[in-house]
Symmetry: C2
């Protein structure tokens, strides 16, 4: 599976989640893995691309068919609990941006 998500022809939606981690671990990794797994089973989920560096800076972009699909995932019970723990323990700051992908283009070399 490539790092780059194979999303369908636009339009579709992106949730750009940029975050800064605290030093607190306490089930963070387990929960992050679980959330990616749960999200991928949600209706309308199209893909996820995620990176975090050693200073704790992270970018996760998930792709969705519609705003309704994003809303449903946002209020998923387990996800709500993870969001709450995120604010209480794991993140010192984050920003979530909901965006409509209007155009995309890609490149893959034969190298």
């Amino acid at each position: 599976m490539s790092f780059i998500s194979s999303t369908p022809t636009p339009p579709y939606y992106a949730v750009i989640f940029t975050s800064i981690r605290t030093d607190v671990d306490d089930d963070y990794r387990l929960t992050a893995t679980r959330m990616a797994e749960l999200a991928s089973k949600e209706e309308g989920f199209l893909g996820i691309e995620s990176l975090r560096d050693e200073q704790g800076n992270g970018i996760t972009v998930s792709y969705w068919r519609s705003l309704e699909d994003i809303r449903r995932w946002k209020i998923n019970t387990e996800h709500l609990e993870a969001q709450s723990n995120g604010r209480k323990k794991w993140y010192s700051a984050y920003k979530t941006r909901i965006a409509k992908v209007e155009r995309d283009y890609d490149f893959a070399s034969l190298k």
Copy 2:
């Protein structure tokens, strides 16, 4: 300066550039730094968030006031040359998504 860009109230635009690096260095880092610097001077530039891991997977999200600003940056002469070298040398694959940020919300703890 925080890792998380201080963008204005939506709507504004995001360019989500997801990429996989080759092993070829050859001025990559110099050019990447130069492009971030050049972009930040372009009219309508609102911010940039960028990460790359040790496997060569990268996500760069830049934020812009309008599609016209994105277009102007895309055809900037130095940037066009960098894009060409990107396809010839530095990236084995990439995907660019142009998206309209419709909503955002953030969190900053007092910790």
